[in-house]
C-alpha cells in the first residue's frame, strides 16, 4: 500500500472546491479537524454543503465556516449551540436539513458501505417522516432513509501511520470513522503521524485504504 502524501493545510483546502459537498467529523468541535477548517476559511470556497453532526458554535469548529458565509446547505442533527446558524436559516441564507443523529450516522454509513438505505423506526410519526417512504416489516413501520456521500471528508484522528491507518481516541471518534468510508476524497488530520507498524492491526479503526491524504504535522 503506497505511502500517503502529507499535505499542507492550504494544499488540502484546495481539494475543496466551490459548491462541494463535504463531510466534517466532530461533535461540537470535539474530534473535529480544526486546522482544515481554518484553512478552508482562509481559502474560502463558497456554496458548500456541509454534512456534520452539528454546526459548532460561533467562532468555533464548523461555526467558523458558517460565520465566513461559505455554507449554503447543512445536513446536521443539531444547530442549537450556534445562534448564527439559526439566524442565517431564518434569513434564508442557509438551508438546514435536520436529521436525527442516529439516522444521520446510518445514512453516512449506508453511503460508505454501498447500501441503498436503511429502515429506521426513528422519526416515524414526526416531521422527520415528511416526504419519506414508510416501509412495513413484520407489521412494524419504518422510515426508509437514503445514503449520504460527499466529495470530500475531513476527519480528525489521534494518530495516522504513513500508509494512512488511523487510530482515534475516546469521544473524539464520533463521526470520523464512518465519514472516512463515504467520500470520494478523504483527508485525515491526525495529532501525530507515526511509522508503519506503530499502530498494531487490532488498533486500526480506519484502514489506510480509505485515506487519500494526511495533513502534515503541526509546525
Amino acid at each position: 500500500m503506497p505511502t500517503k502524501t502529507a499535505l499542507k493545510p492550504e494544499a488540502a483546502a484546495e481539494l475543496v472546491t466551490e459548491g462541494a459537498k463535504i463531510m466534517i467529523g466532530g461533535f461540537m468541535g470535539v474530534g473535529a479537524p480544526h486546522r482544515m477548517i481554518d484553512a478552508l476559511v482562509e481559502r474560502a470556497p463558497g456554496r458548500l454543503t456541509v454534512i456534520a453532526n452539528d454546526s459548532g458554535m460561533p467562532g468555533q469548529g464548523i461555526g467558523k465556516l458558517v460565520s465566513a458565509g461559505l455554507v449554503e446547505r447543512m445536513i446536521v442533527s443539531h444547530i442549537g449551540l450556534n445562534p448564527e446558524t439559526q439566524a442565517k436559516m431564518n434569513a434564508g441564507e442557509i438551508e438546514i436539513e435536520l436529521v436525527p443523529q442516529g439516522t444521520l450516522i446510518e445514512r453516512i454509513r449506508a453511503g460508505g458501505v454501498g447500501l441503498g438505505g436503511v429502515l429506521t423506526p426513528t422519526g416515524i410519526g414526526t416531521l422527520v417522516a415528511k416526504d419519506k417512504r414508510v416501509i412495513d416489516v413484520d407489521g412494524k413501520e419504518f422510515l426508509l432513509e437514503t445514503p449520504l456521500k460527499a466529495d470530500v471528508a475531513l476527519i480528525a484522528a489521534r494518530r495516522a501511520d504513513y500508509v494512512g491507518n488511523i487510530e482515534y481516541t475516546l469521544t473524539a471518534q464520533n463521526f470520523n470513522p464512518v465519514m472516512a468510508l463515504a467520500a470520494a476524497t478523504v483527508i485525515a488530520e491526525p495529532d501525530a503521524i507515526v511509522p508503519v507498524g506503530v499502530i498494531p492491526p487490532d488498533a486500526v479503526r480506519t484502514p489506510g485504504v480509505l485515506i487519500d491524504h494526511i495533513l502534515e504535522r503541526r509546525r
Partner: protein, 211 residues
C-alpha cells in the same frame, strides 16, 4: 432545594443499580449527582462513551473526552469508547436501559415534544429522537410549566420527538405516568397538593394519589 434539584433527586430514585443510563443535557444531567457510586450505574453519552464520570480535576481535562453537552468528563474503570454508529446502534437497538430527557411539552398520550418551536427556536433533535425510540425506559425531567404556561397538555402543539409513549414524567410538582387510560398522577412532591398539580396541568389527570 430548588426545582431542578428536586426533580433530579426524584429521578435518581428511578435508576436501578447496575443499569446503563443516558442523561440528556441540561436538567437531566444533574441526576448523576444523586446516584451513589456504589450503585454501579454506568452512564452513556451518545457522543461515544459508556462509563462517563464526573468532571476531571482542574488542569487534567482531556479535550477528546467530553459529554454530549461538550463538557469535560472522566472515564470510570470499565469505560468503553466508540464511534457514533456503535453509540446509536446501542441506543436504537434497545441496549440502553433508561434515558432521562428534558421536555418542552408532553401530552395526555405520553408523547414528548422537545426539539423545536416552529418560527422561534429550532435547535434540532440531536440524539433525542433515537433515544426516545430505542431506550428501554424514557423519563421526562422538566419543570411543570414554562412562564406560567402548562407544558403537560391534552395534545402536543409542538412537533413530536416520537410517537412512543414515555414511561414517566417528573417535575418539581409531581410524578406522572402515561397509561392506556390517560395520564396518572402518581405522586405529589412534598408540600404540593393535588389541586396545585391539577391547576398547573392542561391535560386531564387520573388521580391515583390523594392529599
Amino acid at each position: 432545594m430548588d426545582a431542578k434539584e428536586r426533580i433530579a433527586r426524584r429521578v435518581a430514585q428511578e435508576i436501578h443499580p447496575g443499569t446503563l443510563v443516558n442523561l440528556g443535557i441540561g436538567l437531566p444531567s444533574l441526576v448523576a449527582n444523586f446516584i451513589p457510586a456504589e450503585a454501579g450505574v454506568f452512564f452513556q453519552a451518545e457522543n461515544g462513551v459508556i462509563g462517563m464520570g464526573a468532571r476531571p480535576p482542574e488542569g487534567m481535562e482531556d479535550r477528546d473526552l467530553t459529554d454530549a453537552g461538550g463538557g469535560f468528563v472522566t472515564a470510570v474503570p470499565g469505560a468503553a469508547s466508540m464511534d457514533s454508529a456503535m453509540s446509536f446502534g446501542l441506543i436504537r437497538g434497545g441496549h440502553i436501559d433508561l434515558t432521562v430527557l428534558g421536555g418542552l411539552q408532553v401530552d395526555a398520550r405520553g408523547r414528548l415534544a422537545n426539539w423545536m418551536v416552529p418560527g422561534a427556536l429550532v435547535p434540532g433533535m440531536g440524539g433525542a429522537m433515537d433515544l426516545v425510540t430505542g431506550a428501554g425506559r424514557v423519563i421526562v425531567a422538566m419543570q411543570h410549566t414554562a412562564r406560567g404556561t402548562a407544558k403537560i397538555v391534552p395534545e402536543c402543539t409542538l412537533p413530536l420527538t416520537s410517537t412512543r409513549r414515555v414511561d414517566l414524567i417528573v417535575t418539581e410538582l409531581a410524578v406522572l405516568a402515561p397509561t392506556d387510560q390517560g395520564l396518572e398522577l402518581r405522586e405529589c412532591m412534598p408540600g404540593v397538593t393535588v389541586d396545585q398539580v391539577i391547576e398547573a396541568t392542561a391535560a386531564d389527570l387520573i388521580l391515583t394519589v390523594q392529599d
